[in-house]
Symmetry: C2
Subunit: 993 residues, 2 copies
Amino acid sequence: MQDALLALNRYWTEQGCLAAQPMNTEVGAGTLNPATFLRVQGPEPWRVAYVEPSVRPDDSRYGENPNRLQTHTQYQVILKPEPGNAQELYLGSLRALGIDTAAHDVRFVEDNWASPALGAWGLGWEVWLDGLEITQFTYFQQAGGITLDPVSVEITYGMERILMALQGVGHFKDIAYAPGVSYGEAFGQAEYEMSRYYLDEADVDTQRELFESYAREARRMLDERLPVPAYSYVLKCSHTFNVLDARGSISTTERARAFGRMRSLAHEVAGLWAARREELGHPLGLVESPAAPADPVLSPAVAEQDDAGLAAFALEIGVEEMPPAEVNRTAEAVRLALEQALEATRLGHGPVTVSASPRRVLAVVERVEAHESDHEQIVRGPRVSAAFDADGQPTKALLGFARAQGVEAGDLVRIEHGGQEHVAVSRQVRGRPAAEVLSASLPGVVTGLRSEKNMRWNAPGLAFTRPIRWITALLGERVLPFRVSTLVAGRTTQVHRTAAQPSVDVPSADGYHEFLAGHGVLVESARRRVLVEEGALRLAAEAGGTVDLEKYAGLVSEITDLVEQPTPILGRFDAKYLDLPDQILVTVMRKHQRYLPVQDEHGRLLPFFVAVANGSCDHDVVRAGNEAVLRARYEDAAFFWNADLRTAPADMKRKLALLTFEERLGSMADRAERIAAVAGRLAEAAGLGEADRGTVERAARLVKFDLGSQMVTELSSLAGVMAREYAGRAGEGGAVADALYEAELPRFAGDALPGTTPGALLALADRFDLLAGLFAIGSAPTGSSDPFGLRRSALGVVNILRARPELAGITVDAGLAVAAEYQKVTPTAQALEDALQFVLRRFEQQLLEAGHGVDPVRAVLPLGAAPIRAEGTLAELESRLGSPAFQALVAAVQRIRRIVPPGTEPLCDPALFEQGAEAGLLTAVEKVRAALDGDTRLDRFAEETTELVGAVERFFEDVLVMAEDPAVRANRLGLLAGVTELADPVLDWKAVN
Amino acid sequence: MQDALLALNRYWTEQGCLAAQPMNTEVGAGTLNPATFLRVQGPEPWRVAYVEPSVRPDDSRYGENPNRLQTHTQYQVILKPEPGNAQELYLGSLRALGIDTAAHDVRFVEDNWASPALGAWGLGWEVWLDGLEITQFTYFQQAGGITLDPVSVEITYGMERILMALQGVGHFKDIAYAPGVSYGEAFGQAEYEMSRYYLDEADVDTQRELFESYAREARRMLDERLPVPAYSYVLKCSHTFNVLDARGSISTTERARAFGRMRSLAHEVAGLWAARREELGHPLGLVESPAAPADPVLSPAVAEQDDAGLAAFALEIGVEEMPPAEVNRTAEAVRLALEQALEATRLGHGPVTVSASPRRVLAVVERVEAHESDHEQIVRGPRVSAAFDADGQPTKALLGFARAQGVEAGDLVRIEHGGQEHVAVSRQVRGRPAAEVLSASLPGVVTGLRSEKNMRWNAPGLAFTRPIRWITALLGERVLPFRVSTLVAGRTTQVHRTAAQPSVDVPSADGYHEFLAGHGVLVESARRRVLVEEGALRLAAEAGGTVDLEKYAGLVSEITDLVEQPTPILGRFDAKYLDLPDQILVTVMRKHQRYLPVQDEHGRLLPFFVAVANGSCDHDVVRAGNEAVLRARYEDAAFFWNADLRTAPADMKRKLALLTFEERLGSMADRAERIAAVAGRLAEAAGLGEADRGTVERAARLVKFDLGSQMVTELSSLAGVMAREYAGRAGEGGAVADALYEAELPRFAGDALPGTTPGALLALADRFDLLAGLFAIGSAPTGSSDPFGLRRSALGVVNILRARPELAGITVDAGLAVAAEYQKVTPTAQALEDALQFVLRRFEQQLLEAGHGVDPVRAVLPLGAAPIRAEGTLAELESRLGSPAFQALVAAVQRIRRIVPPGTEPLCDPALFEQGAEAGLLTAVEKVRAALDGDTRLDRFAEETTELVGAVERFFEDVLVMAEDPAVRANRLGLLAGVTELADPVLDWKAVN
């Protein structure tokens, strides 16, 4: 271990880094060291490298877990500004550690880093060594909420992982730390004791006090304009927060509030630091702006070359590893941009094809003509009437125009424009050579590149998902030089970094794909996909199984766009892990490792997987590495699993009392209790059968218990999943276990809805409680901030109710009202109304997104508290909208609603009738009322009102509502109000158009 | 800087050290890192090296001071067990840093390290590089109050100092930290800001709360048996304490209490750690016991050699650098031990001379005879009367004796013993060869070595001031091998470590001194002293000055015993520093640097000094180094001086309000106010003249103001001295300035007493306040604990009063009573009595130590509250003790005191007289009373009572005191009581013998 640290120190100081020391207060990561957090601010250059023993109380495992330590050793490097070749420098450091980068599979896998507590983010990668994440590599974009300029590269090595891999040991304790001293011998006791402290013993009240004291000192120091001590107290806040978190004493609200405070302090610190550095005159100097090369001049040979033949054109944009999701998107964007650029020229060309791999986009335009076509250019001058005087002599206007155009008056022609005759200049313009046309068009294609999430690097004017590092542009065999920011297009491309010759010159645009393929780079994703799929099936077959390519199509796509030369390798894991639930095993393989699971013909998992490496490597080395990684991850999962299985669900649930949900709304245990109560009431309201009621009752008693499990504490995405597993194994019936799982559904957009009535009821109760509670305390989401996921919850309520007709007895407003009864803070009527409107707006949004028209959706929204009915009415409305009868109905109702003032009583006295139409209408209304008997559904209403519509029309033909006699007038309005009384509950008629 | 740290890392890991990381909480020194503090406990081996950025809030100087930083960089090495050659390894590390150890003057200068907060101590050295302390080198004896076994070596490098010296820069900011980045550029801002925090901004209340929280957590973790987290909280306590201290918010009591708490926690931590390591089975194994060599066998050639000639014998004991005070003491001890050992043999020899240098003791015995003298050995048997029966035949007793002695009965002789004739065996015993005799005697000489303060090292059975590393023993040219612990005597000695050949073989005991001198080692201190003195004078003369060898005789002695080959070198300093008071300049030269000051013929300081290096070196290099050191120290002093001069005394005094003196007794400002009030009252009581009263009044207003100065904050030994300087410069009169200085006198045993009445009054007031206050709150000294120096204060009171007859109007009890009036906690009568008795006991002790008899001292002690009078009486008493007249007086008074019950009223009625002697006595008594008129001085009493003695004697001859008539008896006792009434106040007669 110490040799490795020494080797890194040596390597990076040789690269000009200052060797700094770890921070002398507990920090969770090297990023927090002021040598990073403060120094990335401002315009001063900075290169630094240091060891950072990083304390993560949450990772405490008593030294038992082979891969987790409460203090692990980071090695941190900052290069400011990013030097343009940080990946290569990094690979050099691996070689300095004795890692044969050609034998191993070293990969840069998308990882966007963000630290909410620090207001910091950056884009970059996890670096994988044979599937093992050994380094975090980030282009720092913001820190302390301040956009960084210049951008720094942060490289963070996880030393224990690297050394376990290098030394081939399975437990951190077995790492040889110094000659003759193992890691465990040296630090095992501290691991155990500090784990005890962080997990079991730290005094929560004391830590809360410490947090406040530290925050107070930080605040005071900011007021004194002393960012350095202020920051040290921010760090102490952060560690204290982490201790409280490890003790399970941080609620969602507390977390949000603490993060908010720390973020705001960190923001001020960063700003103040930058300001102080400026006041100090930037002692380290200023970063030099990147040298912008001169705009290349097309050599006459290229520019003027008059080649009659057609040539292929190729444009390659070399990028540091793009996220897989960006690979095809970028290819498409380049295709579009290139086509548009070409359209704006007169250059003839054949088809444009664009393909992409993680590190490059390659556009090829076939059959580009040597020149644009020639064309005539007309410049319009004054009208003829103004160009010549009465004598037919040229006026001053004409002469001025001719002079300005550099022609003689006699050279002017006449053209027609807008029905007027003008003088004009006509020139024959010769098409530019292809090289010139393309050179001018291409910069925009590059500068216009954007992705979902963009970053800046040391290239002014560019912003993209990852840095663009090279550009090639070849027309046939000729280079088309153009400049974009600091880059000049040439013919040099980069192939695999571990190749003997990583930089190679491309001879010609023709055969570009094959040239790259010859260097092991497959730019066409279809070719890569074939290699992945065929390889996976072949290897799985060797293991006696198969890979479900359909099920894992998304994963295959991802893998395809993670590598330039897919190299599938079969690995295996210990069959004992098959005892873990499949969902855990697959989640780990898929999400964490991008391995394809291997299964038998019955779909049962086999203890094998297919990993896909990039390019040539030593398969045995890479296999062993990947197997070790999976083993470590499964060991971790098994640790939680076994620990949890020793704990009864009821015992786990007791831990919920320690988890504050929201300060004013109580603990997570309080919340679970409320959910149980609300679920009971909803079950009653919905008139559930006895069996379902029993299930609800039992499940309600355990609801959310798995939040007290280690697995969910660790992998929160498994909430519900683990509840089902653990409840089932603890002897709860399947219905109860399912209900506990379904209580969490839907967890994200597109997630499944509860499949059973009890599950749906619990899920509703959960969400009603959340909405009622948070609105009660005035914590409705604002802007982009929705820490409790209320938007998701609102949609969940709507979609569950839409999906379950048997729960039609439950409306949103009623559900909220029931939940309100159990809140620690009783919501006001206005708060409940706000909550309802909040849900309805989500519903409206969803209906619109589903393609329904704005007006029909508005028309049925008043029914939205019963979503299933609103949806039914919407369908009915849409189906009737075209019908003349319905339009007549609508017209009738709308006409009446326009006349009748709101609040008019639907009463009339036949004695005051003056026209027969009045009595006719009254009869029709009463008939409809009797027929509907309170039914407000649109279909019934539309059916029963056919006669009424006629009666209304007649009424308006014969009767003047606004009679002079006030009594008569009032009587007529009362008569019409009888219609609105029937129509209003059906839908919002004024919205129907 | 970073290259130096890398070089040390490389060097020490090559020596088998584990490379550890700095502690991740603020620590004041590398020693506090658990890699030292915990690891030195217990029997496991441990070698570790690490950087420790050490935070000393007190050293904050806003980055302005060239040599002080709130965070300086230590490099720390622990070698456990101490390897026997740690000094050599250390010198190797200096060479690894690029230091030419032959050119520089590298010295190991006594420094005994102790950390009261940690309950730790050790013996060792500061390592000086050309007078600059660059390293602390310690043999750890205790940590956490636990005696360490095995002993570890701790080596702590001060990196900034080393690099300033290596790079030849005068300010830490100018150190090149990394290529192109200076220390100041990299860390200047942090220095400034953290200084601001520690000195000015840290919130005192918050820090106090933090201290309590941390201590509480430490306590709890100890109860949970978790030493590692407990220790981390002890460290946090320690840092918090240091912050409070830097803020000037720690009173003496608080300091004592906080240290007590931390020490006790650290003690428990250490014990618990050791216990836990044992429970864990000592994961790092156990230290191997040092290999004890076999006892050497005297080869027959040596043992039996029968050489008739006389030979010199030499014994050299090689030691790592002894403290100078131990050098002569050890030589003397070895001489004594050797002579005693020789006396116990029959070996004839000439004079024994022993000389010593820091690294060796060399004993030479001249003219040792080849053999002990032969002698007759007599073994006494039974008395002749029992040895032969009546027939003159041998009895069984005789036969048994002869058999036991292995002789024939006929070989027995007769001897006389105790007046009886015995049979006996007489043998002629041949003296052993000198080699045998000496080999047997010498081990005890070595094992018996002890110093004032002893240490253990990796040599069982030995304990001395520093490790003993080699022994030579030569008889003539022959080695006399013997073993002591792990050492075997030979002929190899060590000369200068930087010599080409540091180990050399000594050819012969003859000429041993010259042999060593030939290698540059002068063992005789007289020879060294000559070199120091002559060199100093010569060099001073070169600078146009001289060195006051008489004044600095003690310093010369110290220097003489600091080196083996004195090499005086003349250095100079900038004359601008001569503006500083001499006392500061000389203190720095003498105490801190052991330089001899150079002065002109008028005794005025010149800007020169003489440093004395050890052995050959590059004089220019060493001179430059020493000059830089002095410059740095003067710069430091000038910084304080100038800062203080900008502050008016009254403003400095305001800072006293921030210094808590004692929680219950208020701030230092409160105390100063009390001193002022008490001084005023005492001035009144003493009847001071107007001028003195004015001086007291003015000085009282400022008393102790210099505690608020930076100089005194830094160098507390200058309290009073700086008051005089600053007050004088602030325009106070000389009398006031002197009084302020004298108020602090005496500061230590043997220190001067105040020289003026106002000064004496202030000093008394100070001490009365201290005593009254501390006794009021029950904080009398206990055992060895006397944090407020009450013993010294009590003696101060006594000695000031003894020295100043004009203050005879002030008694100790009265002074205490006055001081009591102003205390925040009013002392009880008992407390004041206790305080008085406490003072009297000190007085008694002092008188006894001055050689006065126990009885006379006891006799005058009742007068001790007026020491000057007690002392006068004592002298009087002692001068009269031999006189018969006085003895008669004593006898008379004692006789009366024995008879008269205490409390008897001195009344009598002449009407009841029955004998003439009664009336005679009454007349005599009344005459004495009239003559003395209340004077109770012994001389007057003795003079006036000549007649009274005769009257008493007559009275006892004639009168039976115990008459049968009670009235008569009472009358006679009343008459006698008239005598005791007069005698009792004079002294305690019963103690006079």
